[in-house]
């Protein structure tokens, strides 16, 4: 029977998940990162969360900005509470002791003050200075060991902050229980903030990089979705039954509707009608079947106008609360934040009908493309387990052409159903065509059908006349 060690919550959204519960009480951690990476904001966020939970915090600095300047900077953050200063969180400097008396004297001072303040969290900002003062690596190790041991004895968690680029074999790393490294990386043209837990004694942690943001609320960490949801959060309980697409004539093509909780990829080139089909699908939203549109291309207002033009005005659903539209412009996004926001919106309202317009928005937001298969696997598995029937659109690269490039290889196999929309050039006209390529565990009509805009949304019409090459958009009549 394994034991769970008591934890100190970090107070940083997403960070407890990365540490699989938060810091371990009485343990010591190094928080390292270049200036500007966010160590001060990180450690103060932890401090103010601890103070809010009724704990005493001792924040020790060496040679840094004055405390007054620090408070000015922190006052721009939501978590800052001036009343906590000098009461729950005590900020002191021990530089003179370090300079005039050395490391051992600093240790004594820290020990006495931690006890005096009855602190259960000690933040020590300036490990780099301590290292400079040390004559040997052993001095550094001794310093850390002495501070740690007393802190552990009184159950005080310690965060050592440093801007040194300490390697894995450094004396500092070997002494502490955990190491959190903050990066501000340049990837292509943009900077991406990422953190990594490089060591975590006494607990597992989510390894690798996790992206984070610094806003007026301080740090928010977005754990890598495929690491956090390696397995679904609840058990997958598949339900038999179908969900109507609300597109006239389409349900008949796919055996009565989409299987409940399935994920459908709707792909086709620009202008083929993907968004329209999705809006039609969302017309099926109701209080019992809450709907969600998670899009990247058009604003909610524009989408509502489009739905009106289509003949399926969605305003009523939005006003009644049956439908929510979340639209994120396809600018510089963080993929795990998108995933988190989507799942949060699904869970918040118990969403049953989801239209993602389109998966490309997630793809573009990944700073490391090779992880997309795992990301989509985690995302779609979670949506299935939550019983959400999802249609996700995907834009085909070529409007016309011999290659029908399905989404990045292996992603199609993650999805249950594949529906393709094409514009086919025939007799000097473009005909809109829909075809079903796959319905997992179900029958479907394999014929290509024309699809048009009726008075109330899309309408599947006659099977397309016999031609070859329709799938590429460049059809040729069959040889007579």
């Amino acid at each position: 029977m394994s034991k769970q060690l008591p934890r100190l919550t970090t107070g940083i959204p997403g960070m407890d998940e990365v540490l699989k519960g938060g810091f371990i009480e009485g343990a010591s951690y190094i928080v390292q990162g270049q200036p500007g990476a966010g160590k001060t904001i990180f450690s103060n966020q932890v401090a103010f969360a601890a103070a809010a939970a009724g704990r005493k915090v001792l924040y020790v600095t060496l040679l840094a900005e004055t405390h007054d300047r620090l408070f000015n900077v922190l006052s721009t953050l939501d978590y800052f509470d001036r009343d906590k200063l000098g009461t729950s969180i005590v900020y002191v400097s021990v530089f003179q002791t370090l300079r005039d008396e050395g490391l051992s004297a600093v240790v004594q001072l820290l020990r006495r003050e931690t006890k005096r303040q009855d602190a259960s969290l000690l933040v020590f900002d300036g490990l780099l200075n301590a290292r400079d003062r040390a004559d040997t690596d052993l001095d550094v190790k001794t310093f850390l060991a002495e501070v740690q041991s007393q802190a552990a004895f009184v159950g005080c968690t310690v965060l050592f902050l440093t801007s040194a680029q300490l390697g894995d074999g450094s004396p500092e790393h070997t002494m502490v229980d955990g190491v959190v490294e903050l990066h501000d990386d340049l990837i292509g043209m943009r900077t991406v903030r990422q953190l990594q837990v490089r060591k975590s004694r006494g607990s597992g942690s989510l390894g690798g990089y996790h992206q984070y943001e610094i806003t007026g609320q301080g740090l928010t960490v977005y754990p890598r979705l495929e690491a956090m949801l390696a397995y679904t959060s609840i058990e997958d309980q598949p339900e038999p039954g179908r969900v109507g697409t609300h597109v006239e004539g389409l349900d008949a093509m796919i055996g009565g509707g989409l299987p409940i909780g399935s994920v459908t990829l709707l792909f086709g080139p620009s202008g083929s009608g993907k968004t329209s089909l999705g809006l039609d699908f969302l017309d099926g939203s109701s209080p019992d079947e809450p709907g969600l549109l998670f899009g990247f291309y058009e604003t909610p207002k524009r989408l509502l106008l489009k739905s009106q033009a289509l003949g399926v005005p969605l305003d009523g659903h939005v006003e009644s609360g049956s439908l929510e539209m979340i639209c994120q412009p396809m600018t510089e996004n963080l993929i795990d934040k998108l995933g988190r926001d989507l799942l949060a919106a699904v869970r918040r309202r118990g969403v049953k009908r989801l239209f993602i317009d389109g998966l490309g928005g997630f793809e573009r937001a990944a700073s490391y493309q090779p992880r997309l298969v795992e990301f989509f696997a985690a995302l779609t598995n979670e949506l299935r387990a939550l019983g959400v029937t999802t249609i996700a659109s995907w834009e085909l690269r070529d409007l016309f052409g011999p290659h029908v490039a399905a989404p990045a290889h292996e992603i199609s196999s993650l999805l249950d159903n594949l529906i393709m929309l094409r514009q086919v050039e025939l007799e000097s006209r473009y005909k809109r065509v829909i075809s079903i390529l796959k319905v997992r565990d179900g029958v479907f009509d394999p014929a290509l059908h024309e699809i048009g805009f009726g008075n109330h949304g899309l309408k599947v019409a006659l099977p397309l006349e016999p031609v070859t090459g329709a799938a590429t958009g460049l059809a040729r009549p069959l040889e007579q």
Partner: protein, 123 residues
Amino acid sequence: MAMIVVAEDEFLLGDMLASILEDEGHEVAVAAHGAAALDLMRVHKPDLLITDFMMPLMTGLELATAVRKDDALKVIPIVLVSGAQGSIGRSHPDMFDAVLDKPYNAKQLVLAVQKLLDDRGAI
């Protein structure tokens, strides 16, 4: 020309404070925390004490309390210079003769110091 003890854990601030006061012709001794400041006061019997609030081992309030309890030191005027605890200083007028909020400017400080020294009869 007076003898002033400064209690300030932030090295840069203590240093700057000492410079400002020395420029005015005073003699200054800086302590890095309250306990060391109390020792300095017992040794020098200064004309004035300027203290920070948050310091290791002994806060500014604890220092002022200790000074007021000591018969040899209790009449020495005490100035509190604080970033966040100015209000605590002002609610203890028996402890602190003047309270300056950080950031203060040099002129304000010099004037406050001069006034207290004049009141006390020191030059």
